[in-house]
Amino acid sequence: MTTAAAAHAVPRVRRTRRRVPWLDRIAYGTVVVLLALAVLGPLLTPHDPYSVDLAKALQAPSGEHLLGTDGLGRDVLSRALAGARASILGALMAVAGAALIGILVASIATIGGRWVDDIVMRFCDITLSLPVMVMALGVAVALGPSLRSAVIAMVVAWWPGFARIARAEMRTVITSPYVEAARVLGASRWRLMLRHVLPNSLDGVYVQATLEIGGATLIMAGLSFVGAGAQPPSAEWGAMVETGSRYLTSAWWISVVPGLLITITALAFALSGDSLRNRNHPDATLA
């Protein structure tokens, strides 16, 4: 039947690499620069970020101090560069930790059968409903405020999000024909999980992780700002904003520089994650 056959005739799909829009390129480029800063930043500082010189306090941006000095005469540019490590690596570690635990828990839920799955996912939902900021404050105060506690707090608060995404994908993969075929061939549950399900269900997690690094930077900085993260005198962007808050009318650069850096970091990762997701699923419209 020509008509019916034609009705099902699928036009050949040509896989073309779509051009990357300029904004996405800038975002990717910025991410690369930021990651480089996180590694190399502390080596690039023109001045010692911790050396206090009250005689030079609150100097406006000049040839010697490109971005001025803070209330204790420390060079703002040097502190911003040094702070990249704490702020960006901190966020990366928090997201990586949360993603790892999320994947592990999702695997257990997928292998463990209905009861385990129900209980684990219920627990995820409850944890997810608690605001990260408040949870993290709880953890931070329990462990004593420090950058390390802030990272741990974020991991504790964020793994359930990753667990849900990973589990949803694993559910889809585990019911697919090729996994079924492997099962029929007698593969053990763990083998199925490690060789077939896990490698094929992590795309969503990667994209989510990229998207979340931006958010993690914001929350890490927020925790430092309210005093539950990195402690003075350590150079960290959130803490730097806090130190500068007293001088906002007289020496705006102390707060504005780290604040802009936080915004740029969050924006670059958000745009990159968005772009990655659009490339994975061109028709995904849900934010």
């Binding site: 039947m1 008509t3 056959a5 034609a6 009705a7 005739a9 036009p11």
Partner: protein, 346 residues
């Protein structure tokens, strides 16, 4: 037939005066309809110069493969897709639809032309009640709530929805596929349009329900004196329903004529190929599918778009695009149509 007779309510069927020309003035006249859509590589022409006439009370089937442009044509007649650029002429009862402004066009939709879509699962909004959706067809044209409700219940009742009054409050998921398609039909005709365009109205249904829905459309046409354009890829369906058939290929009409003649002696090689590929009880012999695959809108061949798949194609087919001409009772766009012995190929 149960339920009040809709005809008696408020439809005037024009009665020709004695001595007047009895050939009815066409209700819908489409000529040179061209529809193109923007794409990354510039505009793509989906429909290129399509002609069609439909008289009052006439049932015309528009037949073609997927991608031939028949659904695009339906949407273009109602000017539903603002991304499409539509040119040519579309006259409904003398009014040039393409010349209307947006507000005037809106007044035509639903009231003058009703549209029925393929999939009743998605044509009904899952979060709104059946009643509100049928009433919407009247409410948007300024009919009061009480009146709209009354007419919606009457129409649903007429279309065989049991306990229509109560089921107005039900939601789409509470209905079976066939019942849902009746609701869709109700939405399309409750405002008594002059023309009903049904885009594959039975494709998503099973065979028994297909017949019920078709016969409902059939009886409504008679009652209301509507013209109908039935869009389908199913030639079998057309045989029992349509007065005339228009066959579309690659955005052009290739053959249009009365259903009987078209089936008995197709003129266009494509029509003949289509018919040969449909199983029929009145003929023996193997089914013969048309070789090749349908032309894609982005890469339609020049000349006659069908020539790469056509056994009768000659050199002129690759160069000149054939215009429709009258052969017997049909309009055929082909340089080398199939002709019966004794008929001259003008």
């Amino acid at each position: 037939m149960k339920g009040p007779d809709i005809v008696s309510l408020n439809v005037e069927v024009p009665v020709p005066a004695p001595g007047e020309d009895l050939t009815p003035r066409p209700l819908l006249e489409v000529s040179g309809l061209t529809v193109s859509y923007p794409s990354a590589t510039g505009p793509v022409e989906i429909v290129s110069g399509f002609d069609l006439t439909v008289a009052r009370g006439e049932r015309v089937a528009l037949v073609g493969e997927s991608g031939s442009g028949k659904s695009v044509t339906a949407r273009a007649l109602l000017r539903l897709d603002h991304r499409a650029s539509v040119s040519g002429q579309v006259r409904l009862d003398g009014t040039d639809l393409l010349a209307l402004d947006d507000r005037e066009m809106r007044a035509q939709r639903g009231r003058r032309i009703g549209l029925m879509l393929q999939d009743p699962m998605t044509t009904l909004n899952p979060v709104r009640s059946i009643g509100s959706q049928v009433m919407e067809s009247l409410r948007v044209h300024g009919v009061g709530k009480t009146e709209a409700r009354k007419r919606a219940v009457e129409t649903l009742d007429r279309l065989g929805i049991p306990d229509a009054e109560r089921r107005m409050r039900a939601y789409p998921h509470e209905f079976s596929g066939g019942m849902r398609q009746r609701v869709c039909l109700a939405m399309a005709i409750v405002a008594h349009p002059d023309l009903l365009i049904a885009d594959e109205p039975t494709t998503a249904l099973d065979v028994r329900v297909q017949e019920q829905v078709l016969s409902l459309i059939d009886s409504l046409v008679t009652e209301l004196g509507m013209g109908v354009v039935l869009i389908t890829h199913d030639l079998g369906l057309v045989a029992g329903f349509a007065d005339r058939v228009a066959v579309m290929y690659a955005g052009r009409g290739v053959e249009c004529g009365p259903v009987g003649e078209l089936y008995r002696s197709p003129r266009h090689p494509y029509t003949s190929g289509l018919l040969a590929s449909v199983p029929r009880v009145d003929r023996d012999g193997a089914l013969a599918p048309i070789a090749g695959s349908p032309a894609q809108p982005t890469s339609r061949p020049g000349g006659c778009a069908f020539h790469p798949r056509c056994a009768r194609a000659e050199a002129d087919c690759t160069e000149d695009r054939p215009d429709p001409r009258r052969i017997g009772t049909a309009d055929v766009a082909c340089h080398h149509p199939l002709v019966l012995a004794g008929e001259g190929n003008r």
